[in-house]
Symmetry: C2
Subunit: 302 residues, 2 copies
């Protein structure tokens, strides 16, 4: 049976412009799981997910509560519990009888990663520029433009290893669907004595999904988002979907750092390292993207 | 290799009278893991834990934040993420090279469970009576006396099944230490169509640990807490530790519902169902309790 690692955007559960309620997240989680269900019939499946909107909201809640604001590693672990719960409930609802397990996942990062001095990962809600600057001053946040507004940005160190790899492998081998590497995994460093420490950051979930897919020797890395795939001649009358490409071509396109760039890099690395296939496409078209009939395909076609 | 299911009290991480900080929880988690580490050398081990103090704090934070307060099932899932992270980090720190995995765990409960109409499970901080009554009025909480003060109480339905049992079994079979059934597991109901819904409640963690130990056919159920064991002639000059007892004797003692009663019932059920051994004792004496040299032993002695 072929193995698919499918990564869902954090926006798959908490969409821009929708009310930021639990009900909306529950409905979106169920919809996401329906899109994945057909794939789980024919393939071994590992599900990973982002947490950008959720960890940002959790940080706001933590600061507003006045009870010792929590650091980002702890908030990341809490969002793995929350999103893991919603997705596991959703998958069980659409695949009754199938074993599913959401795992808390930690990723080792390098203490010297330059990302700790250059925050780039947007989290939480969108603000207009004036509000973003005011809040950033008050709270010591870094902020950056994102789409039609501004958002808080935090360090996003590169994932070097997945601490739960062995457990994930064991579950896949026995037909369980693991939900893991949520929010890219909680970033930790391991000191010379073997002691594990959390660090403040949010890892790119596509980078971790690609690392996991490489280490599991997956056949397909599927990055599922809210856009059709990689677009060429973006914003011009000639704009069109890039249907099939190579790692080298993808890297040469100079895709934007805040959105498609990290996805392209994750796919390129996976394809180069394994000779497998990666694809980027809409979550709702997941099955067609997996079959190579929609989205952008990178590497050998099926 | 014998299989031990060890349940840690929520108070093992967030102790009464200590500052309710993350640093305190991290230090306590590491201490708890050191107490378990020696056992993990000689036995297969499954770790479960409570979440009473943490889920109560999370509920306060959620209400204070003003961003759509979260229901108890969702807060329970978040505390499984948080505590699973702290305990997994702790176990990895004291057992380098050993595979550990914290799993989000859901337990099926009965929609008609009378517990939904009789809240009994204390969560969150201790208040004096006047403060407790005022907050209860403001927020529609149920409250009850607990030790030297009053606490919020919530429904605690009885666990009927563990949704992740298969995944937990697979991990144990392959030598991974699962951290699971945190806070007794997130309570869910499954409707006629197989759809899984969360419900507002906090399951008793000892009841779920006993159910898990029965279903895994564990050799030993270990309830680790901050007291020496079951005391007889409590509060009199003749007060002493009950060293060894039977399920029938334990049930006849009329132990208090808020503390030792549920532990005694959990142990009695496990021993009756499996013929195995259960023990209640101090977390810091975990190894001696497991060997039958400390705490209260229920069932066949080792």
């Amino acid at each position: 049976m072929t193995l698919v690692v499918a990564a869902l955007g954090g926006n798959a559960l908490l969409r821009r412009g929708e009310p930021q309620t639990l009900e909306a997240q529950e409905a979106n989680a169920l919809r996401a799981c329906r899109a994945l269900a057909e794939m789980a019939q024919d393939h071994d499946l590992v599900v990973t997910h982002g947490n950008g909107p959720q960890v940002g909201l959790a940080a706001l809640r933590s600061e507003a509560g006045g009870h010792h604001p929590q650091p980002l590693d702890v908030l990341g672990a809490e969002t793995e519990g929350l999103i893991g719960y919603l997705l596991e409930r959703g998958l069980r609802s659409v695949l009754p009888g199938r074993a599913v397990a959401a795992l808390l996942t930690q990723v080792e990062v390098d203490r010297g990663d330059p990302a700790f001095h250059e925050p780039t990962k947007p989290i939480g809600p969108l603000y207009d520029e004036a509000a973003a600057r005011r809040i950033a001053d008050e709270r010591g946040w870094s902020i950056a433009p994102d789409g039609h507004g501004w958002r808080r940005v935090v360090p996003s160190p590169s994932p070097q290893g997945i601490l739960e790899l062995e457990a994930i492998r064991v579950l896949v081998d026995r037909g369980v669907i693991p939900i893991c590497a949520g929010g890219g995994g909680v970033p930790v460093i391991i000191d010379a004595d073997g002691r594990v420490h959390g660090v403040e950051g949010v890892v790119d979930k596509d980078a971790t999904a690609a690392l996991l897919a490489r280490q599991l020797q997956a056949d397909l890395l599927l990055l599922l988002t809210d856009v059709e795939g990689v677009l060429v001649d973006y914003g011009t009358p000639a704009q069109r979907l890039l249907r099939h490409t190579t790692p080298a071509e993808l890297r040469s396109m100079g895709l934007p750092a805040g959105s498609m760039g990290p996805k392209a890099e994750a796919c390129a690395r996976f394809v180069e390292a394994t000779g497998g296939r990666a694809a980027i496409g809409r979550l709702r078209d997941a099955v067609a993207v997996a079959r190579g009939e929609a989205g952008t395909q990178i590497g050998a076609l099926p």
